[in-house]
Structure formats: structure tokens, C-alpha cells
């Protein structure tokens, strides 16, 4: 059964804090939930579906449902695919709504990596170490150097350059200057990016996203509930998800992400193509993450991502594909090191016409939100949703 048109995103909220020394993590989750409910015009007693991932404290969904006093929940999902989890959750919420399992789904993300030494990170799991731990965790792998390996291989195979990668940060910074909440608001140049400190080659400091506290939440509802609310309706048109890993070491390919599978699934369900997209929210943990996903989603041919992003092509009002108009993870907000929910939130703003006027895409009626979570270099989850404004 297709989810096309079976659910609507009716509430979205991004926590304004980027540093939250005086709030607990469950408090941030609940503040985001309250913000998204107010945005939709609903109350916590309307929530009958709850979705969260590994950033939720304690027993995850169980702890948060109890903390927030949600008493009408009849559907729970805590699928954990890193930063792409919340995009997965939009698809899963639409499925649950289409199946009659719930009518008002709440999705939350929150955390305080800036308050915790070493960063928040993956969360979730617990119990035994990963099966690969003994053979991999000993080598000092981090997001920086595993994504660095991807960039290194992409450059080797396709001739991608540091200057091309830098254009992605430049575009994000052009958007972030208009966002009062953005962690980094200064416009940067290609030269500033490539001359910034080398972190793990070929990735420089300015190829990396920000580390922020905060969070976000979404409300996904049935068509009946959506019709009863006095808000612009953002329809879920299609969703795709996919895992990718080294597969026994015989299928290691650091130049492709799981978007090669999740993207086509979402486009097919929605019945649209990349060329139809007026706006793109693309997960941006690093500049290379954006470049690979744009290729894998079909916005350009494989290996042409460097040329595609160059010369401001991702800048709203300037280029062909406006992306991450809130400044994205690269400049605005990457709460709890897994900011996937912010991809959906800015897509909703664009489709409602509520983005900052300086970056609002005219007549924005069709948008994509896409994320990669976990580690682009080793094991990651990929998730894509296609959203449409309903007149």
C-alpha cells in the first residue's frame, strides 16, 4: 500500500537554543513537542502516535511518553538510523496513519552535545558492543576521518576538488546570514573554506557542520485531522529508506550512499522526478555528504556533483537548486549531532511560504528532505521523503 497522500505534516518546530546549559535533554524534547503541537493547533492529548530515536534518554519512547504525560498513545516507533531517523519516522508515521494505527503522530529529537564532553553522538543501543567493534573501533574512527575517506575516494575516482566542496559551505552561509538563530551567520568564501584548518584530509574545519544543543519536533496527521486544522497542509507524497554497509568487505564503496536506493523509492511513490523539486533539504554533516547525496538522488550524474554545486548553484535566488535555506547543519543547527529533523522542518517552512523572505523559493510546491545517518563511510541509514504543498 502506498502512503501517497495518506498523511500530512501539520506541525513543525525548531528549538531556538543552540547552547542549552540550563535545560535537561527530556525538557528539550518536551519543549520541541509543545512547540510543534502549538504550531499545528493541537494538544498533547491529541497525540496517539509517538516516534523517537537513540537521542531520547532512558527507555527512549517509554521514558519520553511518561515524561510528557502522553496518555493516548497507541502506536510507538523508535527506529534508530542515526541522523536520518526522523526522516524515516515521517515515512513510518504515514504508514501507521494509513493503516489506521494512529491519527496524530509526534516525532521528537533533542540533545545537549555542547554540554557533554566528547559530544552526544549516536545514543541508543546499549548492551553489548557492536559485532564489528573488535575489528573496527580500535582504529580511531570518527565522523571526521570516515567521511574524509569518502571524500578522498570521491576525489580519486571523479576528480572532485576541495574548491567544489567548499561551494556547499558557501551556499549554506549565504542562507544562514538571514537566520537569526543560526549558529554561524557570517558569509564565507571558497578561499576561506579551503584555507581553514585541515581536520582530516581532505576535509577542512569549514567542511564540517556545527555542533549544537537543541532539537526539533514534527506532527504528522491523518487527512481528516489535517482538514480540521487552520494551517497550510504539507502532504507526504512518498518515502524511501535503505541501509548501507561494507557487506562483508566485498562490496565496500565509499563513493555511493544509500540514497541510490532510498531516493528512487521515494520518487517512484510520489510519481515525480528530481527535476520537479523546487527546494531540497539535504543532510549536511559535511560538505561531501551533500555532494554524494545530490548525485545519488539523481540531481546530476554520478561524479558530476562537484560541477553541480559550483558557482552558487545551491544558493536560493541564484542557482538552479536552492538547498538548506535555514543554513543547514553546516551553519545553522545540527542538534545532538544528528540533526535530520531540521531537514524536514525547513522543507515544511518552504512549502508553507514561511521561510525567511530572503531565501523563500517562489511558488515552492514540491520539496525533498533527505538524510544519511550513522557513518557515510561504513554503516549508514538513508531516508528520503517527498513533500507537496496542498492548495
Amino acid at each position: 500500500m502506498s502512503i501517497k497522500g495518506k498523511a500530512y505534516i501539520m506541525g513543525a518546530y525548531e528549538h531556538p537554543l543552540r547552547d542549552a546549559p540550563d535545560k535537561s535533554t527530556p525538557q528539550l524534547h518536551a519543549e520541541c513537542a509543545r512547540g510543534a503541537l502549538e504550531d499545528a493547533g493541537l494538544t498533547k492529548d491529541d497525540v496517539d502516535g509517538f516516534f523517537c530515536a537513540g537521542d531520547a534518554p532512558g527507555f527512549g519512547a517509554l521514558s519520553m511518553i511518561d515524561y510528557m504525560g502522553l496518555k493516548n498513545v497507541r502506536h510507538m516507533d523508535s527506529t534508530e538510523t542515526g541522523g536520518s531517523s526522523y526522516i524515516v519516522h515521517v515515512g513510518h508515521a504515514a504508514q501507521a496513519i494509513a493503516a489506521g494505527k494512529c491519527q496524530v503522530a509526534l516525532i521528537t529529537l533533542a540533545g545537549r552535545p555542547r554540554q557533554q564532553k566528547g559530544g552526544g553522538g549516536r545514543g541508543g543501543g546499549g548492551g553489548e558492543p557492536a559485532p564489528e567493534a573488535g575489528f573496527e573501533n580500535i582504529y580511531g574512527g570518527s565522523t571526521h576521518n570516515t567521511y574524509g575517506m569518502c571524500a578522498m575516494r570521491h576525489m580519486y575516482e571523479y576528480g572532485t576538488t576541495s574548491e567544489q566542496l567548499a561551494w556547499i559551505k558557501v551556499a549554506a552561509s549565504h542562507h544562514a546570514q538571514w537566520n537569526e538563530h543560526a549558529f554561524l551567520k557570517n558569509v564565507v568564501t571558497v578561499e576561506e573554506v579551503v584555507n581553514s584548518r585541515m581536520i582530516s584530509d581532505p576535509l577542512h574545519l569549514l567542511d564540517c557542520c556545527v555542533v549544537t544543543d537543541g532539537g526539533g519536533a514534527l506532527i504528522v496527521t491523518s487527512p481528516e485531522v489535517a482538514r480540521s486544522l487552520n494551517r497550510p497542509k504539507v502532504k507526504v507524497m512518498g518515502a524511501g529508506e535503505a541501509p548501507k554497509g561494507p557487506r562483508g568487505g566485498l562490496d565496500l564503496d565509499l563513493t555511493h550512499s544509500g540514497a541510490v536506493w532510498s531516493g528512487p523509492r521515494a520518487f517512484a511513490e510520489a510519481g515525480v522526478t528530481p527535476a520537479d523539486m523546487k527546494y531540497a533539504s539535504i543532510y549536511d554533516s559535511f560538505t561531501i555528504t551533500v555532494l554524494m547525496q545530490l548525485e545519488d538522488l539523481g540531481f546530476c550524474e554520478k561524479g558530476q556533483g562537484g560541477r553541480f554545486v559550483a558557482d552558487g548553484n545551491l544558493i536560493s535566488g541564484v542557482g538552479k537548486l536552492p538547498f538548506n535555506t535555514d543554513g543547514g547543519g553546516l551553519c545553522n543547527n545540527h542538534p545532538t549531532n544528528r540533526g535530520g529533523i531540521t531537514k524536514v522542518i525547513e522543507a515544511v517552512r518552504q512549502l508553507r511560504g514561511e521561510a525567511h523572505p530572503k531565501v523563500q523559493v517562489p511558488n515552492c510546491d514540491l520539496a525533498i528532505a533527505h538524510g544519511t545517518g550513522g557513518s557515510l563511510g561504513t554503516r549508514h541509514g538513508s531516508a528520503t521523503v517527498i513533500l507537496e504543498r496542498e492548495a
Binding site: 580500535i138 569518502c150 562483508g248
Partner: protein, 138 residues
């Protein structure tokens, strides 16, 4: 003009003890003897990495340890500069048997690595655990 070029330091990195479980114990026992083992599946014939009791290709439980010379080429790498113990290189080696292995590169300067370069295995002592495989230019 005869300026003495200062040689860049060779990379090393302290490595913590690996997690060892019943499934991986034979690998670490061999590592203590300086032998590098990989796993191969009897029914489908394919070698895989990291070693598992159940074949990731056909799900057979009939997998056997096989000694490997530990030779291959660099698939990709990245030198981490933000490190309290000095720069270190992480990367993947595609073994001649096929599978790609995540590792650290040692005994080489930070600018001495290239994709496609031939490397081979050696074992480095860890903090209180068995030695672990690392690779260096052949």
C-alpha cells in the same frame, strides 16, 4: 646550498585493547603468534571481513579460518590531524583475497600515502589486549 631537510615523523598511534568474544577469539589467538587470519565460507567459497561465524553472503554456518599473507592495496584513507597523539591515518585496504579491511597505516609519513599503494600487514601491541593488525607500505 645544502640544507638538511627535516624528515617528517612516521605515524604511530596508541591502540586500545580490542573487544574479544567467543566468535573472534581464534583471530586474536593467532594475532598473538603474528598470524593474520581471515574467514572463508566453505559452501560459497567467498572470503569476508570482519570475521564472522555466519557467512554474510549465504548465511551458512560453515565458515573456516584461513591464514592470509595480509597483502593488498589502499582503497582510501584520511589523515586525522586533530589528535592529541599526533596525526594518524585511518583507511581501508582491499586484500588480495577480496575483502576490504579497516585499519591504521603506520611507519609512513602523513603525506606518504596514496590510493592504490601496495601495503602489508603487521601487528601492533595494544593497551592490555592482543596485538591488532595495522598496515604499512610494502
Amino acid at each position: 646550498m645544502s640544507e638538511t631537510q627535516e624528515k617528517p615523523a612516521l605515524m604511530t598511534r596508541p591502540i586500545p585493547a580490542p573487544v574479544v568474544n567467543v566468535e573472534s577469539q581464534p583471530f586474536w589467538d593467532a594475532a598473538r603468534e603474528g598470524r593474520f587470519l581471515i574467514k572463508r565460507c566453505v559452501p560459497c567459497g567467498k572470503a569476508h571481513w570482519y570475521p564472522r561465524a555466519i557467512c554474510p553472503f549465504c548465511m551458512s554456518g560453515e565458515t573456516v579460518w584461513e591464514e592470509s599473507p595480509g597483502e593488498g592495496v589502499i582503497y582510501s584513507y584520511s589523515v586525522m590531524h586533530r589528535s592529541p597523539t599526533g596525526p594518524y591515518a585511518i583507511g581501508y585496504v582491499t586484500l588480495d583475497e577480496g575483502p576490504a579491511v579497516l585499519t591504521n597505516f603506520v611507519g609512513v609519513a602523513p603525506d606518504g600515502l596514496t590510493i592504490g599503494q601496495r601495503v602489508n600487514v603487521r601487528f601492533q601491541d595494544t593497551e592490555g589486549g592482543p596485538p591488532v593488525p595495522v598496515f604499512a607500505p610494502a
